[in-house]
């Protein structure tokens, strides 16, 4: 038995160590037989250790070689993966230009479903279109038209992205964006963001117009904007082979109709949008419009500017004598405002009479 009875104290080198322990005393011996026997045992063990050492070294070298090979393969694979990653990043960057950024991001995070599924959601839809684009384009060299149009869309797109819009599509010179999907801050906040975005676009366009005019674009682009808030079908439309993430429905068509009825350089919105932004903008009540697919008459409002401290705002007056006035001049058209001013002036004169 070569092992200690306690397994945990077993020593793989017990035989060699035993010989080493015996050595010092035995080597002092003058007994030739004893010395010879020890030398033989020592030689036998030494020979085994040398052979073991040879085998172990050989095995160790083989393992090392395999490790080196694995390491080389790993480096090669890492290089290939890095290269593939760069290619995918470039591809992703190119694809991102064809997709709404929110959808692109959701797709890459694995959060976007590519099934043909849609849902009804209350969205605020924006349409813009360049006035007389065909005539304008005919008066320009194609290169200049491309340059101005690209600049126009780039600037408008950047503003839309800054406000968190989902850019649905460009249709020739028209642009369609919406708020409320895939991310929403609530119907009211979505509507307000859309109107703020539209105002920023018009402001930016005015400075572009000045610059374009100064460099030879005689009649720079002018646009009309329509905004509507209502229930739309939003999601993936199309086939298993080709999908479009878009919105459809009567309320979408209404936004386009509002755009075509808007003043040049103006924003026409439905009552459904107006109620969410009446404290933000000065708006003029316009005529109601009827549309196929929309059961109601749609009251429209044209934005004339942002509401500032000096803008006329809602006027409230309550007196214990039983007088109560609640008036928002912004929702009245010019004729009604004028008639009301005359009546109030007459009333003021009467009140001042003794």
């Amino acid at each position: 038995m070569s092992a200690n009875s306690d397994d945990t104290l077993f020593d793989l080198y017990d035989r060699e160590k035993r010989l080493l322990a015996e050595g010092p005393d035995l080597l002092k011996s003058s007994d030739e037989n004893e010395l010879r026997a020890f030398s033989e045992r020592l030689f036998e063990r030494f020979a085994k250790v040398v052979r073991e050492n040879e085998d172990l070294t050989r095995h160790s070298d083989r393992q090392e070689q395999r490790l080196v090979k694995l390491n080389q393969n790993l480096k090669l694979q890492t290089r290939e993966l890095d290269q593939r990653k760069t290619e995918l990043e470039n591809l992703s960057h190119q694809l991102s230009k064809y997709l709404p950024p929110q959808i692109h991001q959701a797709l890459f995070e694995g959060k976007h479903d590519t099934q043909i599924t849609t849902q009804r959601k209350k969205l605020t839809v924006f349409f813009s279109d360049i006035k007389n684009f065909t005539q304008t384009s005919e008066s320009l060299q194609p290169e200049a038209l491309t340059e101005y149009l690209n600049e126009y869309f780039s600037e408008m797109t950047q503003i839309a992205l800054n406000y968190g819009a989902t850019i649905d599509k460009y249709m020739g010179d028209a642009m369609m964006v919406f708020f409320g999907d895939p991310e929403s801050h609530g119907v009211r906040e979505d509507a307000r963001a859309c109107v703020e975005m539209a105002l920023s676009m018009l402001e930016r366009l005015r400075s572009l117009q000045k610059r374009w005019h100064s460099i030879g674009f005689e009649n720079p682009f002018e646009i009309r904007i329509g905004i509507n808030t209502g229930y739309c079908n939003v999601g993936n439309f199309g086939s298993e082979q080709r999908l479009s993430y878009t919105i459809i429905g009567g309320e979408v068509n209404l936004a386009q109709r509002l755009e075509s009825n808007a003043d040049v350089g103006g924003i026409l919105m439905s009552y459904e949008t107006f109620v969410h932004v009446e404290d933000l903008v000065v708006a003029e009540k316009r005529g109601a419009i009827r549309m196929k697919g929309i059961a109601r008459d749609v009251q429209t409002y044209s934005i004339t500017g942002r509401k500032t401290e000096s803008s006329p705002s809602v006027f409230n007056f309550d007196h214990p004598a039983g007088v109560s006035i609640d008036l928002d001049p912004a929702v009245l058209d010019a004729e009604v405002r004028s008639a009301l001013a005359d009546k109030l002036s007459e009333l003021a004169s009467q009140l001042r009479e003794p």
Binding site: M1, S2, A3, N4, D7, T8, L9, F10, D11, L12, K48, R51, E52, D55, L56, R58, H59, S60, R62, Q63, R66
Partner: protein, 125 residues
């Protein structure tokens, strides 16, 4: 009589030794934290076989990975098997290795050279 049943772990092989059946096998990976503690019991059990085995012994070794310390322990185990053979019992050893594992194949060949008196067959699984 020697009987040993040690289940495999992530770092140690399965060890099955039965003097009654005349079988001994080691299968799996071998890089124990404490080689002496793990293989000490196996070396002791194999050494006992040399004293009390009453039938031929069939040995199967099928290691996937084995570190250098474990090989040192394996040498001791094979020395024990040599002693079994010297004491008069037939011993037949099959060293199994995976088809594409040339390292384990060559290690089997090394053991064959190192223990010429033991009948060792190196087989691809």
């Amino acid at each position: 009589m020697s009987e040993l049943h040690i289940a495999a772990t992530e770092r140690t092989p399965e060890i099955l030794l039965s003097a009654n059946n005349g079988t001994f096998s080691m299968k799996g990976e071998s890089f124990p934290e404490d080689v002496s503690a793990f293989y000490g019991q196996v070396i002791v059990a194999v050494d006992q076989l040399a004293l009390n085995l009453t039938k031929p012994l069939t040995v199967d070794v099928a290691m996937i990975y084995i570190n250098s310390s474990s090989i040192k322990a394996m040498f001791r185990i094979f020395e024990g098997l040599e002693a079994v053979r010297k004491n008069g019992q037939a011993v037949s050893i099959t060293w199994h290795h995976q088809e594409d594992d040339d390292i384990m194949q060559e290690l089997g060949e090394d053991f064959k050279d190192r223990f010429p008196d033991l009948p060792i067959e190196v087989n691809a699984a």
